[in-house]
């Protein structure tokens, strides 16, 4: 398995040596599956073979010879097989674009206006905003009222009887008991 850097180096070396049409099978396979390396390869390829044309057509979804580079068009003009394949692709493309099967027996689903989700109009939005605001304001006033009436906190807790902190350091309560 080759990585892109190796393949591109091999392609450049082969182009310099005029051997671009004799790349190893592994390199060709990589080019056929890697758009980046294919771009490098097809940019410098002068003499196109049938396999090159098929790879280019597949990678670029070409359907007409007008979409091919000039060197590839030259190949198509002189190769009956590739010319025929490209014509088939073009025909298939036209068929696919125009194919529409009839569903005339199919009836429109029974819909009623009330089934439709109503769009939010500005009036509806205004009503909702006013409703939300009034709910917020009443909740706020209830909170304030509850706070004023002291309902939010527990009532004042009576301080526990404190036996410590007497001047002589002896607990008052204890003192009383001793007395």
């Amino acid at each position: 398995m080759y990585n892109c850097a190796t393949v591109q180096k091999v392609i450049a070396e082969a182009a310099e040596a005029g051997n671009l049409n004799h790349l190893a099978h592994d390199v060709r396979e990589h080019v056929a599956n890697c758009t980046k390396c294919a771009e490098v390869y097809f940019t410098i390829l002068d003499l196109w073979a049938c396999a090159d044309l098929r790879t280019y057509v597949e990678l670029h979804a070409v359907v007409s010879s007008n979409e091919l580079p000039s060197a590839a068009r030259f190949h198509v003009d002189h190769c009956d097989q590739c010319g025929r394949l490209l014509a088939q692709d073009e025909h298939l493309d036209r068929m696919l674009r125009s194919v529409t099967l009839s569903a005339q027996a199919l009836g429109c689903p029974a819909v009623r206006p009330h089934m439709m989700r109503k769009p939010m109009t500005w009036k509806l939005a205004l009503v909702l905003a006013i409703a939300a605001l009034s709910v917020f304001l009443s909740a706020l006033s209830m909170y304030r009222a509850a706070e004023r009436l002291g309902w939010l906190y527990p009532s004042q807790v009576t301080q526990p009887c404190r036996y410590a902190d007497t001047s002589d350091g002896i607990l008052d309560g204890h003192h009383d008991v001793v007395k």
Binding site: T35, A61, L96, R97, V99, L106, C108
Partner: protein, 198 residues
């Protein structure tokens, strides 16, 4: 009654956006007209994904019912068709996944199979050949791998550009192109001998 007739006769002249507006205002005829306008294309998409006419019919119904519930979203003319095609494709793919395998239909099952739109200029023989070719073509599309089928349907039948497909599928444009090229090659191989490709 006369008023209704006038409305119905005017509808074909209106754009999708105007029809949507009317349907939103409660004109069921406007929605029916939208249905008539897009039904065949939506059906073709569903059939190309599923390869089964009865499932495709269900998908068409579901697609239009969903669209009816969301009419308020479509203000521009192209928005309705784009939504319908995308919903039909996704609904069909969901059906396919729920079935866990493609249920195929042979060309011999002619009664239940869809009829291609007939060109008025066709003579009966041409019409028959055209129908056979188009049925075979759509069935062959439905038998491609999911990856190939999806890009073919999106590009050729829905009419989406390579860039739009790349955005929707979250893949580079080059990948979409190579999938399209390979899908077309696979389709060509499947059709050799059954359809006259010239």
């Amino acid at each position: 009654m006369a008023t209704k007739d006038v409305i119905v006769s005017k509808l074909p002249l209106l754009g999708d956006g105007e029809l949507v507006g009317r349907a939103q205002r409660g004109e069921v005829e406007a929605f029916a007209d939208l249905f008539d306008r897009h039904r065949d294309r939506v059906y073709t998409i569903a059939y190309a994904v599923l390869g089964n006419p009865s499932d495709a019919v269900d998908v068409v119904q579901e697609t239009f019912l969903r669209a009816f519930g969301k009419l308020s979203r479509f203000h521009k003319d192209g928005a309705v068709s784009a939504y319908l095609y995308r919903t039909a494709r996704n609904a069909a793919i969901d059906v396919l996944r729920s079935r866990k395998g493609i249920q195929t239909t042979t060309l011999d099952e002619a009664d239940g199979s869809p009829k291609p739109i007939r060109d008025p200029g066709d003579n009966p023989e041409q019409a028959l050949r055209r129908r056979t070719n188009e049925e075979a073509l759509v069935l062959a599309v439905s038998r491609l791998s999911e990856e190939h089928r999806t890009v073919l349907v999106m590009h050729h039948i829905e009419g989406l550009s390579v860039d739009a497909i790349a955005k929707e599928l979250s893949v580079p444009a080059g990948t979409v192109k190579s999938r399209l090229g390979r899908a077309r090659e696979a389709l060509r191989r499947k059709l050799l001998g059954t359809v006259d490709l010239g």
